[in-house]
Amino acid sequence: IGEIRRYLRDNNSIRVSRSLRDIAYKALQIRDELVEKNSREPAISEIAEKLDVSEEQVVFALDAIQDPVSLFEPIYH
């Protein structure tokens, strides 16, 4: 386990906020590709499968780059 942790540490000292944005942008890219290919909105599972992360993780990542409230309530924060 110590070794695994050392390995992880070398790669994973980036902040989560950044990695979430990366996942989210990839997710949106895949969504666009799938919309083009299938002429319909893809389900979350289709995006998750292509990214090889869980559905919940895709949703979490997408939330990091968008704030639906701000569309309607730009003032309150």
Binding site: A43, I44, P68, V69, Y76
Partner: protein, 146 residues
């Protein structure tokens, strides 16, 4: 606790940081019925509006508790957002577009209108000084995959 497996209950304090947290939790929960990004965004927006209302209207002068219950039955989502705050005195008016009791906060008065637009139904119950509960439902088209 109900017998269904597709049930969750979340309690958080009414600080503004928890608004986005509640939104993600419900969105992550809903992801098990495999919605589209658009459907998820509808739900997130509705959750944000309801939680924001509890935060700023329900607990104007204090930090209180907000409880969210989410349940999925077949392809329908049931959402309940509850606070134990000041309550609503004029329940018949609050769903009117542009109606707000806090214009000084530059509130738009569109919260319930948005919820009604993005969800299939929105029900409000409230008692003065006891709190407010908003119940919403939404059917998902999902299962678009073959």
């Amino acid at each position: 606790m109900t017998t269904t497996n597709n049930y969750m209950e979340l309690k958080v304090s009414s600080n503004s940081q928890n608004e986005s947290f509640c939104r993600v939790v419900v969105a992550a929960f809903v992801s098990r019925i495999d919605p589209t990004i658009e459907e998820i965004n509808d739900v997130k927006t509705a959750v944000s509006e309801a939680v924001t209302n509890s935060t700023i209207h329900g607990y104007p002068d204090e930090i209180g508790e907000i409880k969210i219950i989410a349940k999925i039955e077949d392809d329908e989502l049931f959402l309940e957002i509850q606070d134990y705050g000041v309550g609503i005195s004029n329940l018949n008016k609050v769903k009117e577009p542009l109606y707000t009791t806090r214009p000084e906060l530059e509130r738009s008065g569109m919260g319930f209108t948005i919820m009604e637009n993005f969800m299939d139904s929105v029900e409000i119950t409230s008692n003065l000084n006891q709190g407010t509960t908003v119940r919403m439902k939404k059917k998902f088209s999902s299962s678009i995959k073959e």
